[in-house]
Structure formats: structure tokens, C-alpha cells
């Protein structure tokens, strides 16, 4: 039985993480996601499940605590917002290199620099193309509701362990701060020591006489071995592209035009669809749920039966590049967006569709 509650997105994420059997949270306060740690501290998860919650001295320390905890086979997580996520990039690169599972939430705010605290989607490139140094990818989930904030905490942990890879939940202040009803999964037990030894035999749990010592590292000074490691990483990312693409199609069946949008923008586009259809414009929405792996195939397929696509983003146009690559010039793909913390209105989106796609 799932429990029904009215919660903020950030709180739902935190509650769902406890219920997913998280072992540890390490964070540093930053708006607009501080509710995650505040909620966890108030819940005393140490008493509920034994989960550790620690406020670190910096985002850098927090992500490296995640590295240390993940390397012992534990379900560990952190959360932050854009400037803090930039600070975490070093650690994320090491975690990706050492192939450690972990869950990271980015409640994106407008940038660059200190920017603003209002919602934005301007960290798309950073999230989907690597972010830190080296050739690596995160598996990126983009929630567009409080329900998905909760669902993706558990899904994120599970995918992280399935692929031994960091999973990033790419949200923003709108999704994190809004209250909606949410159905929560029942409590799942934390891993036992036996499960850790069995499921993560590479983890540093203490060398026993039945095995060699375990070393968790991203370093190999022998470049032929490092190339092999990189090839293995790339094979893993290709496997994610085959197996983990997630998206939602809304009103696409009879659509002549397609909005492509994720997260908060996708919610705006759903209203824009209603407004446009009231005027007789047959438009649908393709909402990527995984931003990496990106839903290339469905976009290419939709391009074959539609007249044009409008990519709506709260950025200066980042995801539009991936949509254009996926569509392979079959139809016109244009970008419309507001940024710096501004959320576009449905009217603006419909007007952009008319001007840039239908009339253009």
C-alpha cells in the first residue's frame, strides 16, 4: 500500500530516499533545496532506519563523503543547487571514474555565477555531457511533479547500483517547493552487511582472508589499462542508452506539431497544448524523463509524422541541440525559452509556436 501525503517536492524526495533504504545523506545548505536536509534532520532517520545525515563544511566535502560512503557499498546521496553542484563536479568525476553508485539532486537555479534562486534549466549541458573532467556520463532523471521527485529517489538509487554510476535528479525550485499530493512507497530495509558483501563485492568493507584487498580508485598510471577502463565506461553508457531511455508522450497521436520539454517547462507546455488545441492547433508534447540517455529514437520517429518541433527550455537553448541531432533535419526544430529565473507563460509558448514553427 502506498501512503498518500501532501508534500513539497524537496520533502517528498527526502522522505522517499529514507523509504528507499538510504544509508547516508551528506549535504550543504543552498537555496532552493535546503528543505531536503532540513526534512531529513527533523525526521531523525537515524532512529527510523539507522540512516546517517550529516551537514558537511562545504559541497566539496559533502560529495567526497558520498564517495567514501558509496565505496563501502552503502546507499548514499547528496543534494544541492547549481553553484553547489559546480563545486561538486570534481567529486562527481571521481565517483564516475571509480564507478560508484550514488544519488545526487540538483535543484537548478538561474546562473551563471551566483545567479538567482529562481528556477532554471540552464545546467542541462553540465548534467548531460559530463560536467567535470574526463569522458563520463551521469544517468539523468528529470522529474516534473512532486510524485516524480519521490519516485526518482528510489529509481535513482536502483539505477545507480544497477550501473555502478552516479544518478542525477535534475529538478528546480518550482518542482522542489511546490506542494502536491504524493503516493509514497512503504519502507524498504537498508542493505544488510551480508547483502553488501554479496551485491557489491568490490566495496571496501574490510579485507577478509577469502579475497584480495579491495581498492576503490579512479587512478591508473598505466595508460593502456586506463584506455580499457574508458572503453568499459563507454560500453556502460551505450548500455544505458539501449535500456534506460524514459519519456512521456502527451497528445502526440494526432499532433502536427510537437513541443519538446522536460521538468517545469513540460508542465507549462501541457497548459500550452490546451490553449493551442482550443484554437484548433494540433500540438503534442514529448517529455524526456531521462535526459541522459536522451530519447533520440522517439524524437526521430515523431519527426517523420509531424511538421515541426518547438523545444521549450528555461535556458538559452541547450537541449535543442540534442533534439536537432535526434531529428536529423527531417523537420524544423526551433528553440523558445526564458531564463535567468523566469518561467515562460503558456501564452508565450503558444505565440512562439505560431511564430517560429507554424508561421515560420
Amino acid at each position: 500500500m502506498r501512503e498518500l501525503k501532501l508534500m513539497k517536492g524537496n520533502e517528498a524526495f527526502a522522505e522517499a530516499a529514507i523509504r528507499a533504504g538510504a544509508d547516508g545523506y551528506f549535504g550543504y545548505p543552498i537555496t532552493p533545496q535546503s528543505e531536503v536536509m532540513e526534512y531529513l534532520m527533523a525526521q531523525k532517520p537515524h532512529e527510523r532506519t539507522g540512516m546517517i545525515v550529516l551537514q558537511a563544511e562545504s559541497e566539496i566535502a559533502a560529495i567526497n563523503m558520498v564517495y567514501g560512503g558509496a565505496a563501502t557499498g552503502k546507499r548514499v546521496m547528496t543534494s544541492s543547487s547549481s553553484p553547489g553542484i559546480s563545486l561538486k563536479q570534481e567529486g562527481i568525476s571521481y565517483i564516475a571514474g571509480a564507478e560508484l553508485p550514488c544519488l545526487i539532486l540538483n535543484a537548478v537555479r538561474g546562473g551563471p555565477g551566483l545567479g538567482t534562486i529562481q528556477p532554471s534549466q540552464s545546467d542541462y549541458f553540465q548534467s548531460t555531457k559530463g560536467g567535470g573532467h574526463g569522458d563520463y556520463r551521469l544517468l539523468v532523471l528529470a522529474p516534473s511533479s512532486v510524485q516524480e521527485m519521490a519516485d526518482f529517489a528510489r529509481l535513482g538509487f536502483d539505477l545507480a547500483f544497477k550501473y555502478r554510476n552516479p544518478v542525477l535528479v535534475l529538478s528546480d525550485g518550482a518542482i522542489g517547493q511546490m506542494m502536491e499530493k504524493v503516493e509514497l512507497d512503504p519502507q524498504r530495509p537498508r542493505f544488510t552487511d551480508e547483502e553488501i558483501k554479496k551485491n557489491t563485492p568490490w566495496a571496501t568493507t574490510g579485507k577478509t582472508s577469502d579475497r584480495e584487498h579491495n581498492i576503490v580508485t579512479s587512478l591508473d598510471l598505466e595508460s593502456t589499462r586506463m584506455e580499457k577502463h574508458n572503453l568499459d565506461l563507454q560500453a556502460k553508457y551505450r548500455l544505458m542508452e539501449e535500456q534506460e531511455v524514459r519519456y512521456e508522450e502527451i497528445s502526440c497521436d494526432d499532433a502536427e506539431y510537437i513541443f519538446v520539454a522536460y521538468g517545469t517547462s513540460a508542465r507549462i507546455c501541457q497548459k500550452a497544448i490546451q490553449l493551442a488545441r482550443a484554437e484548433g492547433i494540433k500540438v503534442g508534447l514529448l517529455r524526456p524523463i531521462t535526459l541522459f540517455p536522451f530519447p533520440k529514437k522517439i524524437l526521430n520517429k515523431l519527426a517523420k509524422k509531424t511538421k515541426g518541433m518547438l523545444v521549450v527550455e528555461m535556458s538559452a537553448g541547450q537541449m535543442v541541440e540534442d533534439v536537432r541531432l535526434a531529428v536529423e533535419c527531417q523537420v524544423k526544430v526551433e528553440y523558445f525559452g526564458r531564463y535567468g529565473g523566469i518561467i515562460p507563460s503558456p501564452d508565450e509558448v503558444v505565440a512562439a509556436l505560431k511564430k517560429q514553427i507554424i508561421g515560420g
Binding site: A56, I60, N64, G68, A71, T72, Y94, V216
Partner: protein
Amino acid sequence: MAEVIMNAEIVKPENLVYKRTELLTPRTLHYCPGCGHGTTHRIIMEVIEEMGIQSQTIGIAPVGCSVLAYDYMDIDMQEAAHGRAPALATAVKRLNPGKFVFTYQGDGDLAAIGTAETIHACNRGENIVIIFINNGIYGMTGGQMAPTTLEGMKTATCPYGRDIAMMGNPLKITELVAQLPGTLYVTRQAVHTPAAVRRTKKAIRKAFENTKLNKGLSFVEIVSNCNSGWKMTPRQANDWMVENMFPFYPLGDIKVNE
């Protein structure tokens, strides 16, 4: 040839007085001859072996000359980003409270880029051991100035000697962490003589034993040489260390709480 035959007669199990510690792997150390890392690795592994805690110990290696410490120490180990070892150790210990957790860090790692992680792990009183090798130079990257480089000491990035007005003061981070309520035991030792090795081993043993008390962090600094970086022979480097490093970084216990 005659000598070899004679040695073969002497080298028998019953005559064995010194051997590789079981918890050091058979790999050949990459450290320069005369460097203190090898000795310190051995001491730590002896302590872990004697305490019988191999299966309960998790070590964190730094970035620096000892980046490959995990190749030599036959225990489970993690390799940290530069300066972040105390953050890793914090989480390892919090999530695995029954384990013995230690970091092994050089002066650049611990007292420059990782200052925040060091201070805050100490101040939170994390129940871990920090082993800090201070040789006043960045050995691995080719002998650049470290936070602990002495005034007037020449390195690749202060080729005319460390100028305090221009480059700031050498940092006595060990005295600094001793001020924090979270540290239980803070000591400074060396490994340049047999007597010093024995004292260091005692200090490291005490630090690991302290983990059982659950009363805070134990911090063991080891003042060491870097004969390659200092551009001296190992003997010259040890003499220079005694004459110049020890007056500024005096050996002995700085804080002993029970």
C-alpha cells in the same frame, strides 16, 4: 661468489630477525631510497597486524607521493581526490561505526588543498586516525613549495628560498588542530632513527587504540625528509631535517586526552 654461498648458509628461517610485514604486499615500493614513506607504511601495517584488525580497517590514500599507498598496504583502501581524504574517512566511519578508519596524507594534501576537510573532521571529532607526513615539499609533482616549507628553504616554486613577505608563513597545522575540542590525541614524530621509529610506532598504536574509545580524532604528524626534492643524499637530508625542521616542528606529544 664465496660471499653469496656464505649468505645462503646464514639466511635460514631460524636466523631470521627481520622480514617483510605480512600486511605489506610484495610489490616493490616506488619511493626514493631514504624516503620516510616506506618506513611509515611498514609501521602502520605492523600496528594493524599486531592489533589483528586487518578485516576491520579501511584506509584512505591521498594525492601526492603516497597516492599508491593502496598498492602496498594489504587492506581495503580508497583513493581520495587531493585533500579530501578526511571527508571520505568521515563517511566511511559514520556509516561503518565498527571499523578502524585512517587517512594517510602529505603536507600539500592535508595542510593546503585539504585544510577545510582536515580542520572540520578534527573539529567534529570524527573517530578516525589521520597520519600526516610533513616533508615541507611537494615531492610527486617535482619539488614545489608546500604549506609547511620552511622560511628560506628552496623549492622549484621558490627557487631563491621561501620569502615570508611574498609567500606567507609555514603552517603549523598540527598545533592548530590540537586546539580543537574534537581531537583526542595529537603528536609529532619522525622515522629517521631506530629510536624515532619505535616512538612513532607507539604513537600510531595509541592512535588506532583510541578508535575504540570513540572520543575523537587522533592525529599523528611524522616529520620526514624528501631527499630528492631537497636535492640531498638521504643522509644529508636526515641531518638537514634534524637541524632545520625539528626546531620549527618540534617532536613529541602536543595533546594527550584520555
